[in-house]
């Protein structure tokens, strides 16, 4: 099957800064692809290139086999974007914003009215359809922008930080919508800072740092690859020293987290045994003891650090 998005050697310089540095990746048809990275890593620049807003200095990108450089209108016709900053027309009503979007994509009047009614009801904006977007809250604006993006039934949907700054309910509604449209066949390219969101939604994740791809894999594989980030979390009936516990063999690092101490190790079983011995020898009682797999956030931070060192 042809990839939905194919990126080859994409590079973009802004004066002396290389925002995107010869990146390569593919997004499979029908997958949710997460794009993670710290601020200024090149996420938004990549999305802007892939959506035809800016041109790269070199490299190529295709959306469903249409080159974004050679056939930009055809590529744009089959995709939609939810940009990072809300940008519906605030002096138009929700309904007018949706109709305008439909007209810009060449959707006929009957279809765009049907879709707009359906989406406004789905996103609980129907009652406010004749109100100017100027008076909408951030969450309502973001929902309106998502409605505008979905009106055209895109084959590929780009979302740049879609739940950033939203309340829990709105963020959940947007995540559920992403899942639903993905089930219906839409390929999703999701840029986010929210590791839990990426973990819950994405089939695969690319981590970008300083304009270069640091890793691409499924969230589970990324965690598995970072075995050094496994940990054992322990709490005793009396305070214990993290510094002392860090000297236990096979422990690479010990951190005090609230009333618990987290010990990072490749060998959790051996560390558990050592902890029991440690507690006995000091007359301590173990209140809780858990082994933890690395979180996506741990993996992300580790990869970014490694990437910086290289």
């Amino acid at each position: 099957m042809e990839p939905a998005i194919e990126v080859k050697g994409l590079t973009k310089d802004y004066k002396e800064i290389t925002a995107v540095n010869r990146i390569n990746f593919e997004v499979k048809n029908g997958e949710i692809f997460g794009f993670l990275g710290p601020n200024g890593a090149g996420k938004t620049t990549t999305i802007r290139i892939l959506t035809g807003v800016i041109k790269p200095d070199s490299g190529a990108a295709t959306i469903m086999d249409y080159s974004i450089l050679k056939e930009p209108l055809k590529a744009k016709q089959i995709m939609s974007v939810v940009p990072e900053m809300a940008n519906a027309y605030i002096d138009l009503t929700a309904w007018q914003n949706l109709m305008l979007t439909g007209e810009l994509y060449g959707v006929n009047k009957k279809k765009r009215q049907e879709r707009a009614n359906h989406l406004l009801k789905e996103f609980k904006l129907y009652e406010r359809r004749n109100h100017l977007a100027r008076g909408f809250s951030k969450g309502m604006k973001q929902k309106l922008i998502l409605c505008m993006a979905l009106l055209t039934k895109p084959q590929v949907l780009f979302l740049d930080e879609p739940t950033s700054g939203l309340d829990v309910e709105s963020a959940r509604l947007i995540r559920d919508t992403i899942r639903q449209y993905n089930r219906d066949g839409t390929t999703i390219f999701l840029s986010t800072h929210n590791m839990e969101e990426a973990n819950q939604l994405c089939d695969r994740i690319a981590i970008i740092n300083h304009g270069k791809i640091a890793a691409i894999d499924s969230p589970e594989n990324l965690r598995m690859k970072s075995s050094s980030l496994k940990s054992v979390e322990v709490s005793f009936n009396k305070p214990a020293s993290a510094n002392e516990l860090s000297k236990i063999s096979n422990v690479t690092q010990a951190k005090k987290i609230g009333d618990k101490i987290r010990l990072y190790t490749d060998e959790p079983h051996s560390v558990i045994n050592s902890l029991i011995d440690y507690a006995r020898s000091r007359g301590l009682t173990v209140i809780s003891l858990n082994t933890l797999a690395p979180t996506l956030e741990d993996v992300f931070i580790k990869l970014i650090k490694e990437h910086k060192e290289h």
């Binding site: 802007r48 035809g52 305008l100 810009l104």
Partner: protein
């Protein structure tokens, strides 16, 4: 396939024009530079001067169409860049030329609509329009030409500050009014004045209006039409070429 071709893009240009008219017709710069400024300029120059009504009519209709057709177009791009709606437009399947033709259509319609008012005033005051068809055609061409000029004025520098563009636009518009036969007929100008006047598109429109109301014109009607068409093409093509290059800079 057709949707990517001319007709499909033209439909999208009309959608953009509809949006522009809904959003910008009541914005500050449009009201100030499109309605208030030409009205007061007219009053300042013509009140108390003993002039035939036809001369007053030429001045009023010339300034109204010039200012109103250029009131929306220079402000749209910086407004949209600032509100980040330009980025949305650029990410849709609309070509750059269709985007700007849409803006020109909005300014053109606004210019035509506003310019009907002085025509009605003129008729009420007893101005005899000898060649109404020529006047109508002239108004259409002039409004399109000045709207395209407005788009050109917003092309450089690629700013997202509307007041910067409006300032540049004002700096260009006011001197043009003085050299275009609005206040002093071309035939009464010195040679050097006539040469300068020939570089202004407004000159050819005022010449047409003079021809339609007084049957006095410096150039032939044909030459006036050709000049207006030539200026329109020059402004439109140059504006689209510059905007194509500067949009990424405006968005970065």
């Amino acid at each position: 396939m057709l949707e990517y071709q001319f007709l499909g893009q033209l439909k999208r240009a009309f959608a953009i024009a509809k949006k522009d008219l809904r959003i910008y017709y009541k914005s500050g710069p449009v009201v100030i530079y499109g309605l208030i400024a030409p009205f007061f300029l007219f009053l300042a120059f013509f009140i108390g001067r003993n002039m035939p009504i036809e001369r007053l009519f030429t001045g009023l209709i010339g300034m109204t169409i010039f200012f109103s057709s250029m009131s929306i177009s220079p402000a749209i791009v910086p407004f949209e860049a600032r509100s980040r709606t330009l980025e949305r437009l650029v990410s849709t399947p609309v070509s750059v030329w269709a985007m700007f033709i849409g803006d020109v259509i909005a300014s053109f319609l606004y210019g035509i609509l506003i310019s009907i008012v002085p025509v009605i005033i003129g008729l009420v005051l007893g101005v005899n329009i000898i060649h109404p068809l020529v006047l109508c055609l002239g108004m259409i061409l002039a409004a399109f030409c000045f709207a395209s000029f407005g788009i050109l004025l917003s092309a450089y520098p690629p700013t997202d500050v509307p007041s910067t563009v409006m300032m540049i636009s004002t700096l260009v518009k006011f001197p043009l009014v003085f050299i275009s036969g609005v206040f002093v007929p071309i035939s009464e100008m010195q040679d050097w004045g006539r040469i300068i006047a020939s570089f202004s598109p407004l000159t050819y429109y005022t010449d047409l209006v003079n021809c339609c109301t007084q049957e006095i014109s410096y150039y032939s009607v044909f030459a006036d039409f050709i000049a207006l068409i030539g200026f329109t093409l020059l402004f439109l093509i140059t504006a689209i070429k510059i905007h194509e290059k500067t949009i990424p800079e405006r968005l970065s």
